[in-house]
Amino acid sequence: MTDRSAPSPASHRTPAARPAASVPGGGPGRRRVLPYLLVLPGVAWLVLFFGLPLVQLAAASLYDPTGSLSTGYVFAWAFGNYPDALATYWPHLARSFGYAGLALLLALALGCPLAYAIALRAGRWRNLLLVCVVAPMFTSFLVRTLAWKTILSDQGWLVGLLRDVHLLAPDGRLLATPFAVVLGLTYNFLPLLVLPLYASLERLDRRVLEAATDLYADPLRTFLTVTLPLAKPGLVAGVLLFFIPASGDYINAELLGSPNEYMVGNVIDSAFLVRLDHPQGAALSFLLMAAVLGLVVTLLRHTRGEGSPALDGGAR
């Protein structure tokens, strides 16, 4: 199935060379309107329920903080909400990026060998192994995180084993520690890092690697100078797909951590749903988004021109 879907001759772009375009019922006038009609409902949905809400969130972050949900909020250009929120909750924001960053490093250490082994060493087991990689996504996010709670619990076999070999103090625990939260984050988002990385490794031409070996490069040098640069687009896509949800996650911190491990998501959740302090929740949301967006732009700018497969969709 080497379907070489070659770009068709440029003729189809010029209506004159294309009789079908002027067939009755499909006149040139209609053809110009058609794409707009097709994208209109989807664009309207995104503008109404993605764009407009962001504007509203921005407005909410500038509400007068003395208002409340019951008495009504007043829009007041209250930029002070941002430094106020930052002053109180900077540890949570720092923890979000700290834990997500640690989880990312761990995920890279685990995911790179995995993607490499599946792409270049798995042979006929490749598809089965790929299914194993996405298997965690097949069960519910919350259910599999609760399974970690079981595994890491104080009465569990893992804690017992670690205490027996003195890797853990007799009263030491795994649950409600930063370690548990980072482990959970790594676990839950690892497939998102491995898949794009695998895709770009699988696509690379093995003969290039053989050439490096034939030219007396040792494995490390081959990896650093040939494999890694060729896999970079997949690596960047994987890092983004991992880091964006990991830094905004608060399920792992809630289920596997304690209030000492709470991330910015936990604070935002309680600001909107428990404490009903909308201006503060909105300001923190924007701080999170700005930080994430900054990261995305920086990473993509560094790899511009190489095209990251996950983020530019099928635009080939």
Binding site: M1, T2, D3, H12, R13, P19, V23, R31, Y36, L38, V39, G42, W45, V47, F49, F50, G51, P53, Q56, L57, L110, P113, A117, I118, R121, V131, C132, V133, A135, F138, S140, L142, V143, R144, A147, Y187, L190, R203, D214, D218, P219, I244, S247, G248, D249, I251, L255, D269, F272, L273, S285, L288, M289, V292, L293, V296, L311, G313, G314, R316
Partner: protein, 283 residues
């Protein structure tokens, strides 16, 4: 395919011995680490499956106490949980339907037509995927509060359509971009209207891509917690139920649902991956 080794290299097929040893070690090491990582990925699933056959001593206990089939025999022993699963299926079905139709239309226009604003719309579609889910959730909450819209079932559906839409467009677009465009052009050269060409040629070829997009949308919707949590009001979906129950101790039937989902997804993958081999222009 052997590289042309000049007369200066007496051993044409081998790197130095130290290099070969290093390569052998690296290979074993990589495969070993990969298997350990796979174990890490599969361990919680095994725990969920095991706990679905567990008869717990009390609600807060997660230890494996005694083997039983009761949980599978009575999945609805906890009424609330079953209601939540049904609610999630309803939301997932509606969100998938709307997102798949709108997303397919967009993907078709974006790949098969050139028009002003095309690249801008392509970017707009990708933005929700680059936005933290938390922000998608809180911003919709802010909108619904400002508009005075009561939160509940329908606000959840609206939110789910929004984030599923991007994934549908990307999935269908990838399929369309890999399809042979000349087939559609041939149909139109034979005086098919664009609609006829789409209906008779494009759509049948595109169907696997649309099905994949719909499955992806459903699984995203069914499993979503963060966006739902901010917009559900008092509506309880399955993830919302698990979240609430996690504080009081979860019934073992939650693990039954988790295991059943896993089995179902595995079955779907097995069924769909047998005949399919995506065309890849690189080989």
């Amino acid at each position: 395919m052997r590289p042309a080794a000049g007369p200066a290299t007496p051993a044409p097929r081998s790197a130095p011995l130290s290099g070969r040893v290093a390569r052998w070690l690296v290979d074993r090491w990589v495969v070993g680490v990969a298997l350990l990582v796979l174990g890490y990925l599969l361990l919680p699933i095994a725990v969920v499956a095991a706990l679905s056959f567990n008869q717990p001593t009390n609600r807060l206990s997660y230890d494996f106490h005694r083997f039983t089939l009761d949980n599978w025999a009575n999945p609805c022993a906890t009424r609330d949980m079953c209601d939540a699963v049904v609610r999630s299926v309803q939301v997932g079905f509606l969100a998938t339907l709307v997102a798949t139709v709108l997303g397919t239309m967009m993907a078709y226009a974006l790949t098969r037509h050139r028009f002003r604003g095309r690249s801008g719309i392509g970017l707009l579609v990708l933005l929700p995927m680059a936005t933290p889910e938390l922000v998608l959730g809180t911003s919709l909450l802010a909108l619904f509060v400002a508009a005075g819209a009561p939160q509940g079932f329908w606000t959840v559906v609206v939110a789910h359509v929004m984030f599923c839409l991007s994934f549908v467009v990307v999935t269908v677009r990838a399929r369309l971009a890999g399809m042979d465009r000349r087939l559609e052009e041939a149909a139109m050269d034979l005086y098919a209207t664009e609609w006829q060409a789409f209906r008779r040629v494009t759509l049948p070829l595109l169907l696997p891509g649309i099905a994949a997009a719909a499955l992806l949308a459903f699984s995203l919707s069914f499993d979503d917690f963060i966006v739902t949590n901010f917009n559900a009001g008092t509506t309880v979906t399955f993830p919302m139920y698990v979240w609430g129950a996690a504080q009081r101790g979860i019934p073992p039937q939650v693990n039954v649902v988790g295991t059943a989902m896993f089995a179902l997804a595995l079955l779907l993958v097995a069924l769909t991956s047998l005949p399919r081999r995506p065309s890849r222009p690189h080989r």
